[in-house]
Assembly symmetry: C2
């Protein structure tokens, strides 16, 4: 069965579409943190952040289904629920975030953020970090890998595990200063900086304390705006609403996606009304599927679940226990180089040895596949592909954590 599907997939999608695991899974049902394959085998999902309220949450299913039966239309007519959702979403942010542009994907929301920064500042130069992922369009891909576009320049992502400088914060701030100065030297007007608030794709490093707020100062002083990509970091993942609260900075523009619609394509770019209006005026942006009553139903239902089920509390409670358990198991393991955690977002640096800190991506993949065989789905990520990435739906329970720790103990023991 699996092989037939795989062959069909290679024909229909073409070879080279991304699949997880040495033996790909055929998943046919999801409920809460559980996924079931075509043989009825149960897995505990510790990877997927989109179904943040749990797979197939009944409240989300019912609200979206109800709306689909009433109206699903674009936003060139007035509709109340999407405005109510916009207000709920922006009210979860710092007071400078007032207005919002909805789109369908994180890629689109980052496109909007770039256009907003450039429209508002009149600049074009953007600083990003060097191992990020922000999306798949032509313009957004340039933020994700080295490019030869002189308008997009990266700094080494700030971290304190491998950095050998005496003061890592100063070290990375200096890199940022140099990069911003570089734009000025090349007569490229500066527009701002775009960064994932938790550097999730870089491997969830510990960002040197003070770096982010100093970066905002530098960016503002150079006339730019600070954009926080909260697509992975945001909506309660860290135990706070937004990653920028953990990394301790105040962004001018926030970009949201993945979890906010629980799988209904929904993304958002929010900022001050002034910034958003700079964008609207300069682009006359319209997005057919965005700002629809169905996006509103999904977004509102997700926020309802956060309230009804005290999800933030659960993230903090279970996240702390899970991280503590992992630290206990990993503390004397020679290949566990570092463990970083924020709420229910945990990264384990898998290295050849704690002394060398040399990344062991191949070994990490082996552990990911071993855990899958035991019924636990995690991933690997990071600048070197060696960070075990643990990012379960936020309804992950204490019992789930205990079960996982037992499996992890088993996998670490051999």
């Amino acid at each position: 069965m699996e092989n037939q599907l795989l062959a069909q997939r290679q024909r229909v999608f073409g070879q080279g579409s991304a699949l997880f695991y040495a033996e790909p899974l055929t998943i046919i049902r999801g409920e809460g943190v559980e996924l079931f394959d075509d043989a009825g085998k149960r897995f505990i999902d510790m990877y997927n952040n989109v179904p943040c309220v749990g797979h197939s949450h009944p409240h989300v299913v019912s609200e979206v289904s109800k709306q689909l039966g009433q109206l699903n239309v674009h936003s060139r007519y007035l509709h109340e629920s999407i405005l109510r959702y916009g207000e709920r979403l922006t009210s979860l942010h710092h007071s400078g975030i007032e207005s919002v542009v909805f789109s369908c994907t994180g890629t689109e929301a980052n496109e909007v953020a770039l256009m907003t920064a450039r429209a508002h500042t009149g600049g074009v130069g953007i600083v990003c970090t060097d191992a990020a992922y922000h999306g798949n369009s032509f313009a957004v891909r340039q933020l994700s890998r080295p490019s030869n576009n002189p308008h997009v320049r990266s700094i080494p992502f700030p971290e304190s595990y491998r950095c050998e400088a005496t003061n890592p914060c100063d070290f990375f701030i200096e890199k940022l200063e140099e990069t911003i100065s570089g734009f000025a030297e090349d007569d490229i007007p500066f527009a701002g900086m775009l960064v994932c608030s938790l550097l999730a794709n870089e491997g969830l490093p510990n960002i040197p304390e003070g770096f982010m707020s100093k970066a905002v100062e530098l960016v503002h002083r150079a006339g730019g705006v600070m954009i926080a990509d909260e697509v992975q970091a945001g909506l309660g993942r860290s135990g706070h609403w937004w990653g920028y609260e953990v990394s301790d900075f105040i962004p001018d523009i926030v970009v949201m996606g993945k979890p906010i619609g629980a799988g209904i394509p929904l993304a958002a770019t929010a900022a001050s009304r002034e910034l958003v209006e700079s964008f609207r005026k300069s682009t006359r942006y319209f997005n057919t599927f965005a700002s629809s009553p169905v996006q509103a139903a999904a977004g509102n239902a997700v926020l309802d679940v956060f309230e009804n089920e005290n999800l933030l509390e659960n993230v903090n409670k279970v996240g702390i226990q899970l991280a503590a358990g992992i630290r206990e198991l990993g503390s004397d393991h020679p290949q566990v180089g570092d463990i970083r955690s924020h709420g229910l977002f945990i990264g384990i640096e898998w290295v050849k040895s704690s002394d060398s800190k040399e990344p062991d991506a191949r070994g990490a993949v082996v552990k990911v596949n071993e855990l899958k065989e035991l019924g636990f789905l995690i991933g690997n990520a990071g600048a070197y592909g060696n960070v075990l990435k643990i990012r379960p739906p936020l309804v992950f329970s204490m019992k789930n954590a205990e079960d996982f720790l037992q499996a992890l103990g088993h996998v670490l023991a051999h």
Copy 2:
């Protein structure tokens, strides 16, 4: 009520988000071709192509809802229904269309098409038409309006209403030849041409006979690929499955969006397996919300309705009657310059006088608002904004057509 919502919208979305009509509508329910406002007033929808099977179609609602209750997850696991949908969708095309890349919006699908053309040919130069709209990202916007990017160059859109050349086909083919040669002269390797198969945003002009097939020849001879944007033109709108059947050419890449998911964000870029694999290899593209079981449920349900309700037959039958009725009403009206129709896609050139052919966008907007007051929703579009755009859901009935013709007669009479 309306004014309160409008004020709320200007705060939450910022001023400048697109709204229809002098007095915006607050739509709260849709069913078939009918939309209802917050006062219970009924409108016949003759604009929206996304709900091609009719608003809130029960089969689409039920299939999508059922799938939401089972599983809604990304495509790094195997899932059967999205592959079955891919096969159904590609099988509706000419035999060279074998494989597909799913995304969420027409913008994303056009991004994929551009990346595919460039990855496969090794070129970068793209020809488009000069009054098109293909999407809202940085790269795709350059296809929509004059840009200073030397890699994207436009030709005047081919049409036979205002073109004064003796042989309009030769005239526009010459423009295309010059543009392709221009790339060579500037040492910019050529990648291809991207065009809406029916030039919908240009105003649905009559494309000079033979132009499109000759354009394909020129593009191929120069080493490029031909991309048909079927986001508006496709999926039965014209009475054929695809606009390229009407305009009589064989594209290498087809881009689909809007109607294919009936409002669930779903878009697709399809081509030969070889082209798709060139794209996959060069980009390692992944799209979180795309290729999901919920996209599959929506896409499959839409195709089910086409089969169950003989929609193509309806489009041809009603489209012909509707166009004939409009022609009868418009034949001796001094401001109706030209009437163009393909199935249930009809454009009426609103001009200051038939002799001058001078576009009258302001007058067109007046007629759009008058028809709205009578309960019929159409739009205005085209290179000059003066084309009355009639594009109802494909379940539009003979009775709907009769009612509209009566209203149109009334509006034309004064």
